[in-house]
């Protein structure tokens, strides 16, 4: 019985993503050929063995996507749709950059302080939506979308009034040299370093995996997501859970851009990478809200974006075509998981019938 259970879990874990990948390869190929480019060239570019430099970029990018997706996934696990990871990480990135730039704390302590500021700002920004939901019944989808817009405007205002002029744009004061992190350079300096704070993704992933699967809090959270009425009857204070989950989700969202801030950017300004929060939602869906799944999803997305760069040169097609691939993968995964889940449920029923079939007519 247990070996078949393992087999089933494996099938579910591998089958669904496999189906989804095949479907998205087919759909992307169709799109590429409609766009008038060569399908062979396209896939050649995507599946070229990455260079050292590519590997470094994929790793760095994956870590940020992973954090964004993890933040979204925590809400999703209890049916909270935190669409506001985007606003939360942007605002947190700005606040942390401003804090670190001010250099109130010495050296590495400054980094710790900035990380705490980032988490606090992200948590507060998400917490507003949580509190609105439990006290006023405002849908978190609506409020987080609005908070995204407000965050953007607010950063613009603050930068205009308190930021420094830099080239065409404005930015926060750069972080003092003693608080910058060089990272780990596995190959030559020209290939660039893997940022030190990518470790945050690993730490957050492991922590959340333990919290959700092993702790009482995680049980309450999952129970609320699976059946809110039953959770209430079991003694879960759902309103409190909503606020706490939003706070945690926001705190993790706050960390999203930290690897880049301390590893490369040194300030909040024009090269800031937007849309990680929205992409993170897609990655969370792709990874079925499980940390391990999100890890693979983040790597896949980072791979596609990184490998797509030379597309216009080599295959004469815009790199943004990989966004089609990314979108189709998410859709296909959601559908494929549901299909596989139904197969499995039917199989479980049959197995149950077989196991118990002999005694039923008693």
């Amino acid at each position: 019985m247990s070996s078949s259970k393992i087999l089933r879990t494996l099938a579910q874990a591998i089958l669904a993503p496999l189906i989804a990948l095949i479907v998205s390869v087919i759909v992307t190929s169709i799109v590429v050929s409609i766009a008038g480019a060569s399908i062979g060239d396209f896939w050649d570019v995507i599946f070229t063995v990455p260079t050292h430099r590519n590997w470094v970029n994929i790793t760095n990018q994956s870590s940020m996507l992973f954090l964004a997706a993890l933040a979204a996934a925590i809400g999703f696990r209890m049916n909270l749709f935190n669409i506001g990871v985007e606003g939360q990480y942007t605002l947190a990135a700005f606040a942390a950059a401003a804090f670190a730039g001010a250099g109130w704390l010495p050296g590495k302590l400054n980094i710790v302080g900035a990380l705490l500021v980032a988490m606090a700002v992200g948590a507060i920004w998400a917490g507003i939506a949580g509190v609105l939901k439990v006290t006023r019944g405002v849908s978190e989808v609506i409020s987080t979308i609005m908070l995204n817009a407000i965050a953007g405007t607010m950063i613009g205002y603050l930068l205009n009034n308190y930021g420094n002029q830099y080239g065409q744009g404005r930015r926060t004061t750069p972080i003092p040299g003693s608080s910058q992190l060089s990272g780990w350079t596995p190959w030559s300096a020209g290939d660039g370093p893997i940022w030190t704070l990518t470790i945050l993704a690993v730490l957050a992933g492991v922590t959340m995996s333990i919290v959700i699967n092993r702790t009482r809090f995680g049980f309450d959270l999952r129970a609320t997501g699976m059946n809110e009425d039953a959770a209430v009857a079991s003694g879960v204070k759902v309103k409190r859970m909503v606020v706490i989950s939003m706070l945690i989700s926001g705190a993790i969202a706050g960390l999203v851009w930290m690897p880049a801030l301390f590893g490369a950017a040194d300030y909040y300004g024009p090269p800031f990478q937007r849309a990680l929060g929205f992409t993170g939602i897609a990655v969370a869906l792709l990874g079925r809200n499980r940390p391990l799944g999100i890890f693979f999803g983040a790597v896949l997305f980072a791979w596609l974006s990184e490998q797509a760069n030379p597309l216009s040169l080599v295959a004469d097609i815009s790199p943004s075509v990989v966004q089609v691939t990314q979108g189709v993968v998410v859709l296909a995964v959601v559908i494929a998981y549901e299909v596989v889940r139904r197969w499995m449920a039917a199989y479980e029923q049959r197995e149950l019938k077989q196991a118990l079939g002999t005694e039923v007519r008693a």
């Binding site: 019985m1 247990s2 259970k5 092993r214 702790t215 009482r216 995680g218 049980f219 309450d220 999952r222 129970a223 699976m226 059946n227 009425d229 039953a230 959770a231 209430v232 009857a233 079991s234 003694g235 879960v236 204070k237 449920a345 479980e348 029923q349 197995e351 149950l352 019938k353 196991a355 118990l356 079939g357 005694e359 039923v360 007519r361």
Partner: protein
């Protein structure tokens, strides 16, 4: 035991809609829901299908309506064999169904509710309105097509449901326990409507376990017990006693209590408890009672008279006025978790809604509601191995039929899910058990086992609040019975001397029922 079925007269003239069911078999994991089911429904009659809760009536009805497919057996309508793979097929064959729980959109009008999903028949405009009005007049429904459904009473809503199936051209109408939600006057009105329908050539399958009503309205009666049809009866000659015997069978264990174990120690006391719903309507009015250690207090009542609110108020899911004390301590400021930790076990009326995480394994369901104490957790972490070991114990002691404790709760049959819940709520030495319909939908063997567990716990000093629609269960298990009607306690009976008839009368508000 043999089914005394006569060959159906499907050659009759004017009325059509005869249904013949032969040798239906339907298995669910762990339970045969239907086997050897044979029914002949003559066209243009009211045919009653009676049986206890869990006798397989619902399954048969779902098969007839195409919701579920039988594993074996045949269904014929007007002499033609049919197979339904969805309710759409059943509707095409002229079969319509009125569910016990209405499926209406409150914020739409009667007309909109009727037309919804059947827009092709008469459009959504004046033609549809005329048709709705015509049907309503023809059978004396008295429905205004433009009235919002939220303003309608229960009886009127039911007529909207019937109108819906008539609008779709149904000749055969299945009514699932239509009287469960009605007060006596509404029942009379419903029966008048049904007689009109019969007179106009419709065939009605009426599912119930209320014998008075069945004898009143039916032309033929088929009795189901333990998943099969066990006999037929002629309502002109049959007595309630005969029907009850057919329904219950001789082998049914009766829930007789032994000598009283009631102590003087008051465990739960409610004083003047009241609750109003969202719209300000009182749903519980001035409820006062107490339960002592070793006592089973039964609450009898037609469903929807405040039982759910009473249970949820005691569990802390609703906040009301008045005073509730548990073992002498005022629990007003305790939330649900505090109350559970104080030793209240809770068997909810709707196990899927309030009792289970269907997509979680059994052992996680063991933890649900007990996630703050061993064996479920040590306070911070879930202790999976302890929880699994205890789940194994429950599976063994309560005879939960499952291949493994890692199986998802969804895969189990209702009866086995219920046994798991009962086992869980009896774990951890509860001081008070709130049991809402503890044996609903479970097979007879499991029912007896659950009764035994409750009786044993009562001997050991457990206080039990028992809410049940099964009057025999109430009379058999309770030390005292209170009757609830429209949110208030209206009568107190001694189960030693009360009869189901007396209770039934009190439940419906006087001798007119």
């Amino acid at each position: 035991m043999s089914a005394a079925v006569t060959e159906g007269d499907t050659t009759a003239g004017a009325p059509s809609g005869g249904v013949v069911v032969r040798d239906i078999l339907k298995q669910f994991p762990g339970v045969v829901a239907n086997h050897d089911v044979n029914i002949t429904i003559r066209p243009g009659t009211v045919h009653a299908l009676i049986g206890e809760n869990g006798a397989g009536k619902s399954t048969l009805m779902k098969i007839l309506y195409g919701v579920q497919k039988p594993d074996a057996g045949t269904i014929s309508v007007d002499g033609t064999e049919v197979t339904f793979s969805s309710p759409t097929d059943a509707i095409k064959a002229g079969i319509g169904m009125v569910f016990q729980h209405f499926m209406l959109a409150d914020n739409l009008t009667v007309l909109e509710n009727v037309v919804l999903g059947a827009e092709r028949l008469h459009g959504i405009g004046d033609a549809a309105r005329a048709e709705v009005a015509r049907i309503s007049d023809a059978y004396g429904f008295g429905l205004d097509p433009d009235m919002l459904v939220e303003r309608l009473g229960v009886g009127q809503r039911q007529r909207v449901e019937i109108l819906k199936v008539l609008y779709r051209g149904a000749k055969i109408i299945i009514l699932d326990e239509p009287t469960a939600v009605l007060v006596p006057q509404e029942v009379d009105a419903l029966f008048d409507n049904l007689r009109e329908l019969r007179a106009s050539g419709h065939t009605i399958l009426f599912i119930s376990h209320k014998l008075d009503e069945v004898l009143d309205i039916a032309d033929d009666i088929t009795v189901m017990r333990r998943g099969q049809t066990v006999g037929e009866a002629d309502p002109k000659t049959a007595t309630k006693k005969q029907l009850a015997e057919l329904m219950v069978g001789s082998e049914l264990p009766s829930p007789e209590t032994e000598e009283s174990t009631v102590t003087d120690h008051v465990l739960l006391a409610l004083e003047h408890v009241g609750v109003v719903d969202d719209t300000g309507r009182p749903v519980l009015k001035d409820i006062t009672f107490s339960i002592r250690k070793g006592e089973v207090l039964g609450i009898a009542g037609v469903e929807g008279n405040g039982q759910e609110e009473l249970v949820e108020t005691i569990m802390g899911m609703y906040r009301g006025t008045g005073r509730i004390t548990l073992d002498g301590k005022d629990v007003h400021h305790w939330d649900t978790r505090d109350r559970r930790e104080a030793g209240i076990g809770f068997i909810p009326a709707d196990r899927h809604k309030h009792g289970l995480l269907l997509d979680a394994p059994l052992w996680e369901n063991r933890v649900l509601g007990h996630q703050t104490r061993p064996p479920g957790s040590n306070g911070l972490f879930i202790t999976a191995s302890d929880a699994k070991a205890d789940t194994e114990r429950i599976v063994r002691e309560y005879d939960v039929r499952t291949p493994s404790i890692n199986t998802n709760a969804r895969a189990l049959s209702g009866g086995n899910q219920q046994k798991l819940i009962v086992g869980r709520e009896m774990s951890g030495d509860p001081v008070l058990l709130i049991a809402s319909h503890p044996t609903r939908g479970v097979d007879v063997g499991a029912q007896a086992a659950i009764w035994d567990h409750i009786k044993r716990a009562r001997r050991e000093g457990l206080a039990v609040l028992l809410i049940s629609a099964d009057l025999d269960e109430l009379i058999g298990l309770s030390d005292t019975i209170e009757v609830i009607l429209r949110g208030a306690l209206v009568g107190r009976f001694d189960p030693q001397s009360v009869t189901p008839q007396e209770l039934g009368s009190a439940m419906t508000g006087g001798g007119d029922a």
